[in-house]
């Protein structure tokens, strides 16, 4: 079976910095993959290359067996890739419900969007805040709202860049359950995360990035007990 997402020899240089150095990442349909690695390992850069925020220096991005390396970002989104940014990217000045509707109206009629809006608000626990300005939400709620906008597109591949940053342990746990549920419903999810408790909660397979390369990849237990991973994370020599 062709993987839903495949990068082939992906390279990205920013001047002298080799941010991405020949990454071959394969994600199978239905997977829930975690992407970890120390700061500056190239995790967010990898997401941006997958979405086409900037072009790779060399290498290719394949989605559903199609080479999308040259497609504009919005075309990739239309193909079924959706992202939650690292810094919450919401429409601050607009009400919560309108934030979600703007995402929903892209694929649904007015009536269908309204029904779907209610489902999403319930799923994200945002019903009481529906008329509130998105900029007034708590940090955790903003993260949820953006996850909601990302999944409103009903993507086949969801990219989450540090979805639990700044959340309380309770909120983090809830987010983990939400991600697992989306995955069980058939969505392929790739998550960048620092919080190892969260990674343990959701992931079965983990990819470790280090200096723009795939350092090691495998089942969660193996990665956790891998001494090299501990070394690059904790700086042990």
């Amino acid at each position: 079976m062709t993987p839903i997402l495949a990068t082939k020899g992906l390279n990205k240089r920013f001047g002298g910095l080799h941010a991405m150095n020949g990454v071959d990442l394969n994600v199978e349909r239905g997977e829930l993959r975690c992407l970890i690695g120390p700061n500056g390992a190239g995790k967010s850069t990898l997401f941006k290359l997958i979405l086409g925020t900037y072009p790779p220096t060399s290498g290719e991005v394949w989605f559903n067996g199609e080479n999308i390396t040259r497609l504009l970002p919005y075309r990739r989104v239309e193909k079924g890739i959706s992202i939650k940014f690292q810094v919450p990217g919401i429409f601050q000045d607009l009400p919560v419900a309108q934030n979600l509707l703007i995402a929903l109206q892209h694929r649904l009629s007015k009536e269908a969007a309204k029904a779907e809006l209610e489902r999403l608000l319930a799923l994200l626990d945002l019903q009481p805040a529906r008329a509130q300005r998105a900029g007034e939400l708590s940090h955790g709620q903003k993260q949820w709202l953006e996850i909601g906008m990302a999944i409103a597109l009903s993507p086949s591949l969801l990219l989450l860049d540090e979805p639990t940053a700044g959340m309380s342990p309770e909120e983090t746990f809830k987010t983990g359950e939400l991600v697992k549920r989306l995955n069980q419903d058939g969505m392929t999810v790739v998550v960048i995360e620092h919080d190892m408790a969260f990674v343990r909660q959701i992931a079965r397979k983990v990819t470790v990035l280090h200096f723009g390369k795939i350092f090691v990849e495998g089942p969660l237990d193996e990665i956790i007990s891998n001494e090299d991973v501990a070394r690059i994370y904790l700086g042990k020599d």
Binding site: L51, L72, P73, Y74, V77, E78, S82, I83, F85, G89, I90, F91, Q92, D93, L94, P95, Q98, L101, I102, A103, Q105, H106, E146, M149, A150, L153
Partner: protein
């Protein structure tokens, strides 16, 4: 009918309630009846205020709703104004040709906006640089037109006349079978302007409250997020830029027919800054606020100018500063929100009183 009406109202406009629409209709009725009572000086004057609102509503659309600050809407104003002059001076005004000239002039302004906008938005120019590019363009147009004084600068029989500008264009005329053409002057021009303001205003309300309008405000709030929801941001920006350019062009044509002249200074720095003051002072994120503020501020500058004061422009600058510091959302918007807040604050009190009464009556019985 009800369905059509609901298109006018939505999250992107203030004044969605019954009270607003009742007063809206009342204002229109007063305006329509006004020429029957008022003298022609007043009618002409109010007509002059209406001339400008198309440009500022276009800027509201562009800047307030879509987040693109153009400093050069006057470029399109001037292009259309001059185009109307050139066409009508060459082809005359019979057979309703003036309306064809109006349409061609506005289309030309839209075309210029399309070309400039294409290179800007598809070339990745963003934020403040759009303002710099558009300002440069309007100043280039002004400088160019100002040096067309010589007789070699003529298009057909229309002399461009350099800094003195073109004059003597015919007013808009409606051909009437069996009779002389009706010239849209005085009260007729006034009624025409009122009708045009109402149509454009309602049309823009429908636009901003539609799906398209949702995407416009999404782009204003966060263009990256809008793109990551699958919207081609550049295309939306270009479309809005063209609409705003056409509206500025419409103002330009109406200005030309109103005063039967146009000069290069209508594209100069001062002229370019004024729409920004009008739009910002009232509340750029709302069409109605922009409309009201534009009429008020054009009236105010005129009063000051008529009194021989040189301070009209300084006052406009001062108003912009005060608006930015005290009411960054605009005076009209801030005022409406304050009133709304007061009304809401008193409303719960009223219910609590009635609830208490209810409780009292139930306990006493």
């Amino acid at each position: 009918m009800g369905n059509w009406f609901s298109l006018l109202n939505g999250p992107q406009t203030m004044g969605n309630g019954r009270g607003f629409w009742v007063s809206f209709c009342a204002v229109i009725l007063i305006l329509v009846a006004l020429p029957l009572f008022a003298d022609s000086y007043l009618i002409n004057n109010i007509g002059f205020f209406f001339v400008w609102v198309f440009m500022s509503m276009g800027l509201s659309l562009l800047w307030g709703y879509t987040g693109i600050l153009s400093f050069g809407q006057t470029a399109f104003f001037g292009v259309a104004g001059y185009a109307y002059g050139v066409i009508t001076l060459n082809f005359g005004s019979s057979y309703g040709l003036t309306f064809a000239a109006l349409l061609v002039a506005v289309a030309l302004a839209a075309l210029v906006a399309l070309i400039i906008g294409y290179f800007m938005f598809y070339g990745g120019i963003r934020d403040v640089f759009v303002g710099i590019v558009t300002l440069s363009i309007t100043l280039v147009f002004e400088t160019f037109m100002a040096q067309t004084a010589g007789p070699e600068w003529a298009i057909g029989s229309a002399r461009l006349n350099g800094f003195n500008g073109m004059s003597g264009m015919p007013p808009l005329t409606i051909p009437w079978p069996g009779q002389e053409d009706i010239a849209l002057e005085g009260q007729y021009l006034f009624w025409f302007l009122v009708a045009l303001v109402v149509c454009v205003y309602l049309g823009l309300r429908i636009l901003v409250n539609s799906r398209f309008g949702n995407v416009m405000v999404a782009i204003r709030e966060n263009p990256n997020r809008a793109e990551m929801l699958g919207y081609d941001v550049r295309r939306y920006q270009l479309i809005v830029f063209v609409i705003a350019g056409a509206l500025a062009g419409l103002s330009g044509v109406l200005y030309t027919t109103w005063g039967t002249y146009i000069t290069p200074s209508t594209m100069g720095l001062t002229a370019a800054a004024l729409p920004i003051v009008w739009t910002a002072a009232g509340g750029r994120k709302d069409l109605t606020a922009t409309l009201v503020a534009t009429i008020f501020l054009v009236w105010l500058s005129q009063i000051l100018a008529v009194k021989g004061s040189q301070y009209a422009l300084i006052l406009m600058g001062f108003i912009l500063l005060v608006a930015v510091m005290l009411a960054p959302e605009g005076f009209v918007v801030t005022l409406v929100k304050k009133i709304g807040l007061l009304a809401r604050r008193s409303a719960p009190k009223a219910t609590s009183v009635s609830e208490r009464k209810l409780a009292d009556s139930s306990s006493s019985s």
